[in-house]
Amino acid sequence: MRKTATALLATGAGLSLLIGAKAASGGSPRPALAAPAAAAAPSGAATPGAPAAAPTPPPSAGAVSGTFPGSVVDTRYGPVQVQAVLTSGRLTDVTVLQQTEGGRSTQIDAYALPRLKAEAMKAQSAHIDVVSGATYTSTGYAASLQAALDAAHR
């Protein structure tokens, strides 16, 4: 029993180090739009040539109004798609058309989507941070929203 306890303590220490090393290997907080290509590759042709880091045109520029669906972004947990609602160039709402589903994903989306929306409304753009524990949803959300905004300001 004592050996087992020692082994468990050592395991705990080892795993903590490993997690610490992994956490230190990426910056924080992380912008959702700068995700690695593999994590959130936009599907379809909705965002042709839109560079991920390109600044969104200032909201006031076009004074556009309307509802603009974003691209469908395939994440490893399923497709994510949002649509942006703009009123005179201001982002007034983001609604979710498609979200990841099943088990953990459903729960993650339940808490992550409202936060992502709040962030997007505050930033008035897709330049939002990844929500803790919801990396894939966040990157999919940001990429789809960016495509919607691009379409609105075209």
């Binding site: 029993m1 050996k3 087992t4 082994a7 468990l8 395991t11 705990g12 795993l15 903590s16 490993l18 997690i19 992994k22 956490a23 290997s25 990426g26 910056g27 924080s28 907080p29 992380r30 995700a35 690695p36 994590a39 490893r76 947990y77 099943g102 088990g103 953990r104 459903t106 729960q107 993650i108 339940a110 808490y111 990844v130 803790s132 524990g133 919801a134 990396t135």
Partner: protein
């Protein structure tokens, strides 16, 4: 064969190599920067401990698959010791996985741990099954704790231990449906199921198919039951072409006697005489379980068996070295077979036989007979057990009885507590660990 001592280390090395591989899967699948809060860290720890526990559970099942090569080269006793040490750890790790995941998810989503546990259990696919599997694992682990195990009959413990198979099966489904490392990677799914299929096949082949086919082919039967002393009987067995099985002195098998009240249980007993092509013998001391009923076995009773197994054979010895055999009580049975068959003469082989009273010296007249005909030394060591320097197997007394003990290969078989104590004394005498060969008969 001197190389034999490297086998255990080689097997351990291969088994441990899986651990960094499992950790690497997690490392690869985790995006840098996705670990930000304490919730993320807890959930990551939960995922890692789950991956590790699942891998170790697979190793645990594989270690008990009775793979002949493991049983005979590494040794059933060594594998059983690993299994014991790793079992406790794995059960606790699996429990930690469940707790950490729930706490981590609760932190991430800002819910209470209890509410989160409910969500995970009832709304995540296959998690309820996995929880049932974890329950079974914890049950088996608790029953195997030394304090509880001692109070259980061998059969009860053994049969409840088989619950590990359904437990592993129940846990498997959730690894794919909610385990992010598998649900999203076909390569990982393929490797993981491949490993599980290989282990399942090993269990089916070596624990079921091989014993069945051997039992049918060799038609083993009881020919005679001979009382050897108080509570001790020898069972003589006859069968066809037993030489094909390559049984060696010092090995054991698990025996299932197809008689009323006996057929549903199997017990490990050592061969107590050199095996011949048509005849085997085991000697059983009434250890309280059902071994008493063996005295009433009738000649002609069919016997199914798993084995022969064990690395407690002449193969473990260093060819140029003399041998010291040490037996405690009923542990004399494999020693008796080795005493009869080890090559050498004169003082090449010395046997120390520890027992409380002369009446407890099982097979004594046979041992005297072998000592006479081969010229081997034979020392009965009588008296109550003691841990002090007066015990006949203390380092001082060992040195006096066998002055060259430190240079010999030692074969040791006896009750667990005795064998452990003697191993310590032997180390004091100066016998290196790799030359102490130990067989345990409590498993």
């Amino acid at each position: 064969m001197a190389a034999a001592r490297w086998w255990p280390a080689a097997v351990l090395l291969v088994a441990w190599a899986g651990v960094p591989a499992v950790l690497a899967v997690w490392w690869q699948d985790t995006i840098p920067g996705s670990l930000r809060g304490s919730g993320d860290a807890l959930a990551a720890a939960g995922r890692l401990s789950g991956l590790l526990a699942a891998y170790l559970l697979l190793l645990l099942v594989a270690s008990m698959a009775r793979i002949p090569w493991l049983e005979n080269r590494v040794g059933s006793d060594v594998v059983a010791r690993w299994h014991r040490a790793l079992g406790e750890y794995t059960v606790l790790l699996a429990a930690a996985h469940a707790v950490l995941v729930v706490l981590g998810y609760a932190r991430q989503s800002g819910t209470g741990p209890l509410a989160e546990a409910g969500t995970v259990l009832f709304h995540y696919p296959d998690v309820l099954l996995a929880a049932a599997g974890l329950g079974l694992l914890v049950l088996v682990g608790a029953l195997s704790a030394r304090a509880v195990r001692r109070r259980l009959r061998y059969e009860t413990w053994y049969h409840l231990h088989l619950l590990v198979y359904p437990a592993a099966g129940l846990a498997f489904a959730h690894e794919f449906s909610v385990g992010a490392d598998f649900s999203t990677s076909a390569r990982n799914r393929l490797l993981w199921s491949g490993a599980h299929i290989a282990v399942a096949l090993a269990v089916l082949v070596f624990r079921v198919a091989l014993p069945l086919s051997r039992s049918v082919r060799h038609r083993l039967r009881v020919v005679r039951v001979v009382p050897e002393g108080p509570g001790v009987v020898s069972i003589h067995l006859a069968g066809r072409r037993l030489d094909e099985l390559g049984a060696q002195a010092g090995q054991f098998a698990r025996w299932r006697f197809l008689a009323r009240g006996q057929w549903w249980q199997s017990h490990p007993y050592s061969l107590s005489a050199a095996p011949t092509p048509g005849h085997w013998r085991i000697t059983v001391k009434d250890l309280g379980d059902s071994s008493a009923a063996l005295a009433r076995l009738r000649p002609g009773t069919r016997v199914w068996f798993e084995g022969p197994y064990g690395a407690f054979t002449a193969r473990r010895r260093t060819p140029s070295r003399k041998v010291l055999l040490i037996a405690g009580g009923a542990g004399v049975t494999p020693i008796r077979a080795l005493y009869e068959t080890l090559p050498g003469r004169g003082d090449d082989v010395v046997l120390l036989y520890r027992a409380s009273r002369p009446a407890d010296l099982v097979l004594w007249s046979e041992l005297q007979e072998i000592a006479r005909s081969r010229g081997f030394a034979l020392h009965p060591l009588l008296g109550p057990r003691s841990d002090g320097p007066d015990d006949p197997l203390s380092a001082d007394r060992l040195r006096r009885t066998v002055p060259d003990a430190a240079r010999r290969d030692v074969y040791l078989c006896g009750p667990d507590a005795m064998a452990e104590a003697v191993e310590r004394q032997l180390r004091l005498v100066g016998v290196p660990r790799h030359r102490i060969h130990r067989e345990t008969f409590a498993f």
